[in-house]
């Protein structure tokens, strides 16, 4: 599929439909591909890559790319299109400045899971089959593709693109829908005692190094200036001075994207400390679904978001206490 994408991108550059291409550039370790702009067919030929290590959600980059002159061609995986749609809805991207090629996806791999399986000194990864074949300085290793999937792919939203100009490679391989219920872990946490939940989150959040990777990678975090970057405010976005600050940062961040978060999982993917941040977002999504009706952010561009909407019969906040543990 990589060749097909590359060729089509070249055509669109040559016939001047687009002036630049936003895709992924081949990394030097076989798995560390970076988001990149390509301006010429030669650059594409040399560096363009598309494989199971293209996890980065390019919608985020479209906020900047969309401000530039001329059309940008962007490759979006099915789940990335939700983020793109959400940004369209919030008028953060100009649709007319974008040419979207929806690309097929069989799931993205988590290099940390591969390393956690004891595979070290990686030279190259062959991810074509059901088994990953990894060449390392310590010899050849294997591991099942399924077991190395990113957390977000374990709760895949399906292989349908929400927005695109054309599709390439979509629908090939298995049409994997959701593999597990994405709210299982949330329910599990809900069923714990408050003390246990507090202990869980304290131990997770206290790892936070305040690097802001979650915020900066998040397509929903598109504020021009984040409240945590304000110098009018004695909370510091970069100091882990007190555990309260981590709690506040993550609660407020999750709250600010509540109803707008498409559950793309970038926050958890990029967290250097492996904090399961998606469990905060999914808690909001789960509550929204139960209290205000099923809602998937990014599915469309015209519906009202749950937090900019209301009904007369909405539950009272007291429901949190009444609900008890289920």
């Amino acid at each position: 599929m990589q060749r097909e994408l590359m060729n089509r991108a070249k055509e669109l550059l040559i016939d001047e439909t687009v002036v630049r291409v936003l895709g992924w550039k081949k990394g030097d370790l076989g798995y560390n591909h970076e988001p990149a702009y390509f301006d010429s067919p030669e650059e594409l030929e040399e560096n363009f890559v598309y494989d199971a290590f293209c996890g980065a959600n390019l919608s985020k980059y479209m906020i900047e790319a969309g401000k530039q002159e001329g059309k940008t061609l962007v490759f979006l995986k099915p789940c990335d299109t939700y983020s793109f749609n959400q940004l369209l809805k919030e008028h953060r991207i100009k649709r007319e400045n974008t040419y979207i090629i929806g690309v097929g996806c069989r799931g993205n791999l988590d290099i940390d899971k591969i390393k956690a399986a004891g595979i070290k000194g990686i030279e190259s990864v062959d991810a074509d089959g059901d088994m990953l074949k990894v060449k390392t300085v310590y010899g050849e290793k294997e591991m099942p593709f399924e077991e190395a999937l990113l957390e977000r792919c374990l709760a895949c939203k399906g292989k349908t693109h929400m927005v695109y100009d054309e599709l390439i490679g979509a629908g090939e391989k298995e049409e994997a829908g959701p593999k597990g219920n994405r709210f299982d872990r949330v329910s599990e946490l809900e069923s714990l005692s408050p003390e246990e939940r507090f202990a869980f989150w304290r131990s997770e959040l206290s790892k936070c190094i305040r690097c802001n990777a979650c915020r900066n990678a998040c397509p929903a975090c598109s504020c021009l200036k984040c409240v945590f970057d304000s110098n009018q405010f004695d909370s510091n976005q970069k100091a882990n001075a007190d555990t309260f600050e981590e709690q506040m940062f993550h609660i407020i961040r999750a709250f600010h994207v509540a109803g707008r978060c498409t559950d793309c999982g970038e926050c958890s993917r990029v967290c250097p400390q492996g904090i399961p941040l998606h469990l905060l977002n999914r808690k909001f999504i789960k509550d929204i679904n139960t209290l205000y009706g099923e809602y998937q952010a990014g599915e469309d561009t015209d519906s009202l978001a749950p937090l900019t909407n209301y009904t007369f019969e909405d539950a009272e906040p007291g429901i949190v206490a009444e609900r008890g543990r289920k």
Binding site: P194, M248, D314, P317, V320
Partner: protein, 148 residues
């Protein structure tokens, strides 16, 4: 008042009250000489909808043991719909705090109209009692803001 036999723990309660109903309700409670504990510090806001989740967290950071938000009854908002949005926000926020293991009794929302001086006083008494039973807030505390 009920404070006397519980000297050791003096809770701090922050009450966000909307200008149009609840603040007037508190006023009425005062002018009707209805007692409510001095532990409650009222912060007047233009509308319950003005209350940002950050306000609630900052109140806890700065030493509050309980935070209550009061607004006009649904349907009576001075700005027509403000409290409907506030209702959703607070529901989700309280649910999240609960999820993080913060005792859910520490946060509360009540709709209090300008005529409900009695309700204001009853709610505040109840809430303060609740916070007494929960004790000091330690799960959402900032150690730098505590007595040294």
């Amino acid at each position: 008042m009920q404070v006397e036999n519980k000297k050791e723990f003096q809770p701090k309660i922050v009450a966000f009250c909307c200008n149009w109903c609840s603040y007037a309700g508190a006023d009425l409670a005062g002018s009707s000489r209805l007692a409510y504990p001095a532990d409650v510090k009222i912060i007047r806001v233009p509308c319950s909808c003005r209350v940002n989740p950050m306000f609630i967290l900052r109140a806890f950071q700065r030493g509050a043991d309980g935070v209550i938000m009061c607004g006009c009854h649904p349907g009576d908002c001075h700005y027509t719909t403000g409290n409907y949005y506030a209702r959703r926000r607070m529901t989700l926020l309280f649910s999240m705090l609960d999820y993080l293991g913060v005792e859910h009794g520490r946060t509360r929302v009540e709709w209090v109209s300008a005529a409900e001086g009695v309700k204001f006083s009853t709610v505040m008494n109840e809430f303060v009692e609740k916070i007494y039973s929960l004790g000091e807030n330690v799960r959402l505390e900032d150690l730098r803001c505590k007595e040294s």
